[in-house]
Symmetry: C2
Subunit: 132 residues, 2 copies
Amino acid sequence: MHSSTVTVEYSISDLCKEFDITTRTIRHYEDLGLLSPSRRGQSRVYTPSDRTRLRLILRGKRLGLSLEDSRQIIDMYEPGKTNINQLNTLIDAIRVQRTKLNQQLDDISKLLKDLNDAEANCVIALKTNGQN
Amino acid sequence: MHSSTVTVEYSISDLCKEFDITTRTIRHYEDLGLLSPSRRGQSRVYTPSDRTRLRLILRGKRLGLSLEDSRQIIDMYEPGKTNINQLNTLIDAIRVQRTKLNQQLDDISKLLKDLNDAEANCVIALKTNGQN
DNA sequence: TATAACGTTTACGTCAACGTAAACTTTGAA
DNA sequence: TTCAAAGTTTACGTTGACGTAAACGTTATA
């Protein structure tokens, strides 16, 4: 039996291009412990898992999370060697995040509604001011 | 005919308490042109409209918007003396914001799903590790 | 009247999240 | 072989969003 293994990997510039960020940004995330790529020689080598983490970090950024927040959330996905105490605090942390996200959902729906109103007003103003 | 007018107003500390922020924060927003309260003597006096603007700013913050972004969005609500050109660029800006918000909605729903999975894993781990 | 409680301005400090520059190494193609 | 492209480390700079401290004015009430 032969299981073929196609080890996928990425260079730092691969990820930069894909996500439209700079090398500085990626190295910065590594400095903060959000990424820990292996090395070939002195060059960084990223796995699909690293790439996923990066995607999660950027998603967090779009939601206004700090890098530290993102680090904690991402760590939630890898329970790894957490003991029971940690599991309970983890569950609490998860619920805290969920509460924040639900607040955001509410905020967004209100903002979307406001934008709809604003746009409607614009359209009306455009029709009314056929002169000018 | 007599229209009774109960002019509602707020002091800076009123708003600080209501929204749980500092005076420094409110004055900072004023420095950036997001608020422009009137004065009685040298003290700032805030109207319900000012209060609404503040609420919108803080909502923007929860969504990860910069103060500059919030300023622009809030200005969308007050078309005021905008001419037709401005109205069209305004409509474009509104649609840009809407796109971003929809992206956020998508991000949030994914994150919520991830958190659900993470919590489920925690619960399983808790049951499995009845020992330890 | 004095002393809190609240307001003000001015200005330097801080922290996160990178930007930017310098100086260097490694590697593949001409 | 040389030279351009891509990689590296180190370190100071910048921007946004306030914090913090100093020094001062106003008002109410004990």
